[in-house]
Amino acid sequence: MNSRRNFIRTAGATILGAGIVSKVGAASVPEAPMQTVATTQPPLIPPNGRPYNPVVTLNGWTLPWRMNNGWKEFHLIAEPVVREMAEGMNAHLWGYNGQSPGPTIECVEGDKVRIFVTNKLKEHTTTHWHGIILPAGMDGVGGLSQPQIPPGKTFVYEFEMKKSGTFMYHPHADEMVQMAMGMYGSLVVHPKNPNHHRVDRDFIFIMTAYDIDPGSYTPRINTMTDFNMWTWNSRVFPGIDPFVINQGDRARIRFGNLTMTNHPIHMHGYDFEVTCTDGGWVPKAARWPEVTVDCAVGQMRAFEFDAIYPGDWAIHCHKSHHTMNAMGHSVPTSINVETKDVVEKITKLVPDYMAMGQDGMADMAVMSMPLPDNTLPMMTGQGPFGPVEMGGMFSVVKVHEGIKRGDFKDPGWYKHPKGTVASEWNGPVPDPVKAPKGGKA
């Protein structure tokens, strides 16, 4: 797959010191770090405060904080951003601190957090802390629990993290538009005891959907069902980084759903248990094995597994249109339609016309025909054995031997032991069994 998926490990990728809005507030508001790249950043080892095992945000990053008299202070800036959804496609979105999704906020059960939210949009906003138990006035519902944050203003949220778990944040002011424009981020509260629910690899992403007409850049915010960009952290295959896991690690994958439909997330090669929801940790006795877990709209789920089976394992939403990029949902089916002679007639009028689809649509992943600006092929990607024919919510869990702790770099393709790859049968083929004559087929 592509080299852009390699982690950018340089500290310089996180730029500190971007805009503070008011000079009055300058003395008291912490700096707001910005992010300029869409690749997965390495976990942020907590430099101060309570210790915890950090998560890795898929194609994202964690927001640094500052400690201030026992308060953990974060600064989010709501603003327009340009998000690369995959190489060759940029979306004009709204997000936080330079990207959509906004940075993951990580803290620890019992932390007193103070989150500054500066609004650099042209309309008011708020931030809702989805799943967090907090004072009603900190819940971030514009008009109901607080006045909206006007453009140019900074509001501050203060609350104590009473429980650990997997959460998210998103606007609750003009939220239909603001979420359709990509405003959201993950929020992880780690257990006070780092050994509770401890895993070696902890990934998180949130699912969102956009309707970006090929050739355009801004999502159509009024679309309700017919989206064409099914994203994990505002990325689509082949732009979604792999989940890199050392063989034998205990791994957790957390995800939330901010789209308008459910997503059955299916991982190959393993069965796993759902261990956490946005309601909290699932007691051991209540867990059951799964290979697919459905994540309904507005929910969060986390599943865990012991990464004992090496390989490059697909992980994807099981709605097959959700593993496609932009496609025409009303294109008629041409399977089995013989077109050769008609094609001649058509190419007289449309010289670059090529017949497609009479045998299926797999051609699409092979042919590299020119497309409209700023869009991606419906199905694409190259694996070690050929075209992967995917798009949208698709990635690979790479369980390889000998991956160092803290190393999330793409290790390349799995090297299959000899005789463990499906191959063409070269032996004798038995005669097919025929239906008895005169009988009904």
Partner: protein
């Protein structure tokens, strides 16, 4: 010329006078070109074309050879005009008007033949002989006037014939543009039909393999059938426009098998700018010139009427009256009306009224001509701008839409049917451009004709038979 014939010597002098008159009359003979030179030179100057008055078999052969040579290759608009000017029989018929008018002119330049009458009367065995030598002296006197009048008519006929040449040229050019545009449109409609046919074929197969319902299939079929009738109509239009052109070029048989050029001429890089548009029209337009000439002529005849208000039909007769047994009486007779009852003022008033009428008609024609010229230029500019707009904006935009649609097809964002529907749209926009181009060239032709005052709605039709302008001149 009125002579008292008392002595033989005066008789001789009279004969000498008659001879002189005959010689003068001899000036009004037929011209070698029959008045055709002016028609030829105008056709050359304003149309850049050759005209030919076919009078002999040799002429006919020449024209045939010329026309055949032109028809051998695909016709341009100029070729078509040239063929029509050489070959249109109606035009040849018009040329004969020149002959007729010239004959009238020559006639006007000749005196009536002198007359001689002999009377023998008997009264109670007395025989009276009266011999009269009649000579149309007044005809002689008025001959310059009459000749001038007929000359004017002859000139007008020349202009009228020239106008007819212009009209045929303009009509042919228009018919040519219509025919080529219709042919081009028909050809593009074939492309539209191909697209519709491909859609219908695909639809059939979609239904056959079970991908489409009969409803969807029928919808594509309906469309195809509709397109087929449009295509048939476009071909019929092409044929009928071509026939119009064939008639104007006077062709039949093998001659009617000519080939038109593939496409209309391109839009010029820039529209024509005409300085002093109206002055140009005033100095060139034939209707204006003709009207002016009429007024000048009427001014002359008004003067004559004023001068001869008391003279009616005035025959001056040479009398030779002899009574038997008496010496011959000779003398002459002049008849003069005595203006007691009719002082001729009514006649003068009528002439004056006719003159003023013509003066106002000239004014009207001039006003109309200016307006028509401005109108024609404005139509020309508008047609140019529209056609350029189609060529530079609309067609490229359509093309871009098609390109983008192909990209969308590549991305499986749209299907073949949408692509084909778009291809049809693109073809139709090219057709629409052809139609604007045709309108531009028509407007161009109309402008040229407006500047010459020929072939437009005012054009030559004001001329009529304008010898007596009171009856027919000036507008419609």
């Amino acid at each position: 010329m009125i002579t008292n014939k008392k002595q033989p010597s005066t008789k001789l002098r009279l004969l000498a006078g008659i001879t002189l008159v005959a010689l003068l009359g001899g000036c009004a003979t037929f011209s070698p070109d029959g008045g055709f030179n002016s028609v030829e030179s105008v056709a050359k100057e304003h149309l850049g074309k050759e005209v030919k008055w076919v009078k002999t078999d040799e002429d006919r052969q020449k024209v045939y050879a010329q026309v055949t040579a032109i028809l051998a290759k695909p016709l341009t608009a100029d070729d078509a005009v040239q063929v029509a000017l050489l070959n249109n029989a109606g035009l040849q018929a018009t040329y004969s008007n020149l002959g007729i008018a010239e004959a009238d002119l020559v006639q006007a330049g000749r005196l009536h033949n002198p007359g001689f009458s002999f009377q023998r009367l008997e009264k109670a065995n007395v025989f009276e002989y009266e011999r009269k030598f009649i000579f149309d002296v007044f005809g002689l006197l008025t001959m310059p006037t009459r000749t001038a009048l007929e000359q004017r008519r002859f000139d007008q006929t020349k202009r009228r014939v020239t106008g007819e040449v212009m009209r045929i040229a303009a009509d042919t050019r228009r018919a040519y543009l219509d025919a080529v545009a219709a042919q081009q449109t028909a050809r593009y409609m074939d492309d539209v039909r191909d697209a519709a046919e491909a859609s219908a074929q695909l639809a059939d197969r979609m239904a056959k393999v079970g991908n489409w319902s009969k409803l969807d299939q029928a919808r594509q079929q309906v469309f195809y059938v509709e397109v087929m009738s449009q295509v048939a109509r476009s071909h019929q239009a092409a044929r009928s426009e071509r026939e119009k052109l064939t008639r104007l070029m006077g062709l039949w048989g093998a001659g009617a098998q000519f080939t038109l050029s593939e496409r209309l001429p391109d839009l010029p890089a820039a529209p024509r700018e005409i300085n002093n548009l109206e002055q140009t029209a005033m100095s060139q337009r034939m209707d204006v010139q003709m009207a002016k000439q009429e007024v000048e002529g009427l001014a002359k005849s008004l003067g004559l009427t004023k001068a001869t208000r008391f003279i009616n039909v005035l025959d001056v007769s040479y009398l030779n009256k002899s009574t038997a047994g008496e010496p011959n009486q000779t003398g002459y007779e002049v008849e003069l009306q005595i203006p007691i009852f009719d002082w001729g003022d009514a006649k003068v008033a009528k002439a004056e009224a006719m003159y003023m009428q013509a003066v106002n008609r000239v004014a009207e024609i001039a006003v109309n001509a200016r307006s028509q010229t401005r109108g024609a230029y404005s139509a020309y500019r508008t047609a140019y701008d529209i056609s350029r707009h189609y060529r530079d904006d609309l067609v490229p935009l359509r093309k871009r839409i098609s390109e983008e649609n192909l990209l969308r097809y590549n991305g499986m964002l749209i299907g073949t049917f949408e692509l084909l529907a778009d291809a049809r749209e693109q073809v139709l926009s090219v057709n629409a451009y052809i139609s604007t181009l045709r309108e531009f060239w028509l407007a161009d032709t109309n402008l040229k004709m407006a500047l010459l005052g020929a072939g437009t709605d005012s054009g030559m039709s004001t001329s009529g038979d304008t010898a007596m302008p009171g009856e027919s001149s000036g507008g419609h």
